[in-house]
């Protein structure tokens, strides 16, 4: 049986797709067969972030409708042969995404894969609901910013009441906090909520902090998940996150402002 992971947030633009791509790649690079599914019907973007946009032939909804087999629709990643991408449909009606259809696909994938990463769309509509409904674990991507924190809390409420696990009275979905676009300098200046602040409000287990980083845009420009940029801070942050998710004990990084006095003197203000 595969472990189903939903990457969710409620709010848009906080880094769900970046995170889905990075986590899926990280799990696959660690030797686990992993599938990553784009649930954003009508606005697919995971293919672009993974750099396989020109290889999309069939999509999620083709498979649900029986117009293609799962094997025809899955795209093997060019960087890692244990990683497969199931793209969302770009043109079709959102109503084609049904609970039965999604459940069937996840069940089929579960036979072949160790991890299934579900990249949720923003909002709390059908796509977002179905992305989290079957999940075992939830990675809640949050920015240290009021609207993102509020929406994350809202998502937590939905995860605990509207999922399959909740409906069946099973052990609840395991929820983890991923704090992204974090800027230790601004936290130090009192301009940004700190990790502790966000954790205190959401009371979630912190899986990792991803610093605000130029490497994220560079990676998406090139269509390569940022985790493969091993020299970058964001890439390393995601590697830590994957390792922690798999049970490794790694100290948290990128939380404190590491620049010394001279670094501060010469760095430009933001």
């Amino acid at each position: 049986m595969a472990r189903i992971i939903v990457v969710t947030s409620g709010k848009g633009g906080v880094g769900k797709t970046t995170t889905s791509a990075a986590i899926a790649m990280g799990l696959a690079k660690k030797g686990h067969r992993t599938a990553v599914i784009d649930f954003d019907v009508g606005l697919r973007n995971l293919d672009l972030i993974m750099g396989c946009e020109r290889r999309v032939v069939y999509d999620f909804i083709n498979v649900i409708n029986g117009e293609a087999t799962l094997n025809q629709a899955l795209i093997r990643d060019k960087n890692c042969n244990l990683l497969y991408i199931l793209p969302a449909s770009q043109t079709r009606d959102k109503d084609a995404l049904t609970q039965e259809g999604v459940g069937k696909i996840l069940e089929d994938l579960s036979k072949d894969f160790k991890y299934i990463v579900c990249d949720s769309p923003a909002g709390i509509e059908r796509g977002a609901h179905l992305a989290m409904y079957f999940a075992d674990d939830a990675l809640v991507v949050t920015n240290p910013e009021v609207s993102s924190v509020r929406d994350s809390d809202r998502m937590l409420g939905i995860l605990s009441s509207k999922s399959r696990r909740a409906e069946r009275n099973q052990e609840p979905i395991k929820e983890y906090l991923l704090l992204s676009r974090y800027s230790p300098e601004r936290v130090k200046l009192g301009e940004m909520l700190s990790v502790d602040d966000v954790q205190e409000i959401l009371s979630l287990h912190l899986l990792g902090v991803i610093p605000e980083s130029k490497s994220v845009l560079n990676a998406s420009n090139a269509g390569v998940p940022v985790i493969l940029d091993e020299k970058s801070d964001a890439g390393q942050a995601y590697q830590d996150i994957v390792a922690r998710y798999l049970g490794e004990d790694r100290p948290h990084r990128f939380i404190d402002d590491k620049k010394g006095f001279f670094g501060k003197l010469f760095s430009r203000s933001h």
Binding site: V149, E185, L265, S269
Partner: protein, 88 residues
């Protein structure tokens, strides 16, 4: 951060303001999240009944639902107007 900023005494701390606002908001939203769905309708109908007999305003009724581990409490508050009650 420039050299000047380094010696400047920190200005108004917007992060603590954000935290304070979020804590209040999140606590409020969590308490209403667990409420039964019939609560707004119940409140509306109760208000209609009360207004048949007493002249009270829209905001006169507040319903508060609380859930502990082993019990649920429904608290109902009706603010009566001062003197005119006896006259009607």
């Amino acid at each position: 951060m420039s050299l000047l900023d380094y010696f400047k005494i920190s200005k108004a701390n917007s992060a603590s303001l954000a935290k304070e606002r979020l804590q209040i908001l999140v606590a409020h939203e969590r308490s209403s999240r667990n409420q039964p769905s019939y609560l707004p309708q119940l409140q509306k109908e109760l208000l209609e009944v009360v207004r048949k007999y007493i002249n009270v305003g829209q905001d006169a009724i507040s319903i508060n639902f609380e859930q502990d581990d082993d019990q649920e409490t429904l608290e109902l508050n009706i603010v009566l107007p001062d003197a005119q009650v006896k006259n009607t």
